[in-house]
């Protein structure tokens, strides 16, 4: 998660809080809100497991962005992924150039996983 996304999540949380709580600052209200959020989280997790198509909507699907030295430019553009993002993860895996990669996959959690070229595998 980038620092901007981190700030955004807290910002949305802060903005949402006022209309949700209103002027009811009671312990009962807090308890009910916490219980609702916990139950919703549990329900969504259960629903994702029960109905895979629902899971795809909630979590998305992994996307191949680099395949055998070919960029999937449509996917990269739509997902706003650049070579520098792939290289950041490549460096994290001890690789120094894009041509050392066989695949790069944009995972459901937003991270990029890289697979090094077959001959370089241990």
């Amino acid at each position: 998660m980038t620092p901007f996304e981190f700030v955004l999540i807290f910002f949305i949380g802060g903005v949402t809080l006022t209309p949700m709580v209103g002027d009811d600052h009671s312990f009962t209200n807090a308890l009910c809100i916490i219980a609702t959020i916990a139950l919703t989280h549990n329900f969504v997790a259960w629903a994702k497991h029960r109905w895979p198509p629902f899971g795809r909507i909630v979590d998305g699907t992994p996307l191949v962005i680099l395949e055998k030295q070919k960029r999937h430019s449509e996917t990269m553009n739509k997902m706003s992924v650049q070579d520098v993002d792939i290289m950041a993860m490549a460096r994290d895996n001890g690789l120094t150039r894009l041509d050392q990669l066989d695949y790069a996959v944009l995972e459901r959690n937003g991270e990029i996983s890289v697979i090094r070229k077959s001959e370089q595998k241990d």
Partner: protein, 177 residues
């Protein structure tokens, strides 16, 4: 008791028959189309909000006058729940009698629209006739009174205002959630 086990099946679709990714580009394309629609909807929401279609903007503000000029009312026809606003009633010469202005407002001004205070404070207020009658001491016209409103709940409410000897002014106010 040992936990239940089952053999692993290759259920995730492979790319080039060598890397199991489980990618679904067709679903993703549908999702991108859906996203585009959502961004347009969000854009329209922001535009409507800036124009005042959800209150607190140009479209929401209204000015009404009685034909005899006894009352000129500025108010917001779209309000927001639990959000303060000001309703201004300006009185013309025909509303002032013996140095006083008497204004009758329907009960909704307090019950639905949550009038918090009246500025200036009326010298007298009386209930009856399905509303509240306020009496304000007044000098020469123009004179005005302000009502600080804070609607309690969403809905469409009717507010009526009247000064003796003049037509009744009725307005519909939409209170957004």
């Amino acid at each position: 008791m040992p936990s239940t086990t089952e053999p692993v099946e290759e259920s995730i679709e492979k790319v080039n028959d060598e890397i199991a990714v489980g990618s679904d580009l067709e679903f993703q394309r549908r999702w991108w189309r859906f996203e585009r629609v959502i961004w347009v909807v969000f854009g329209l929401l922001i535009l409507a909000d800036l124009l005042g279609f959800f209150g607190r903007g140009h479209f929401a503000k209204v000015r009404l006058r009685t034909s005899d000029g006894s009352m000129d009312v500025q108010y917001e026809r779209i309000e927001r729940s639990a959000t303060p606003s000001i309703l201004i009633v300006q009185f013309g010469p025909s509303a002032i009698h013996d140095g006083k202005v008497r204004l009758w407002a329907s009960e909704s001004i307090v019950k639905r629209l949550g009038a918090q205070r009246v500025i200036p404070e009326p010298s007298a207020s009386a209930i009856g006739d399905a509303g509240i009658s306020y009496t304000f001491p007044s000098g020469a016209a123009p004179a005005s009174a302000q009502f600080a409103l804070e609607p309690l709940a969403p809905g469409i409410y009717t507010l009526s205002l009247r000064v003796p000897g003049s037509e009744q002014m009725t307005m519909k106010i939409l209170v957004m959630p």
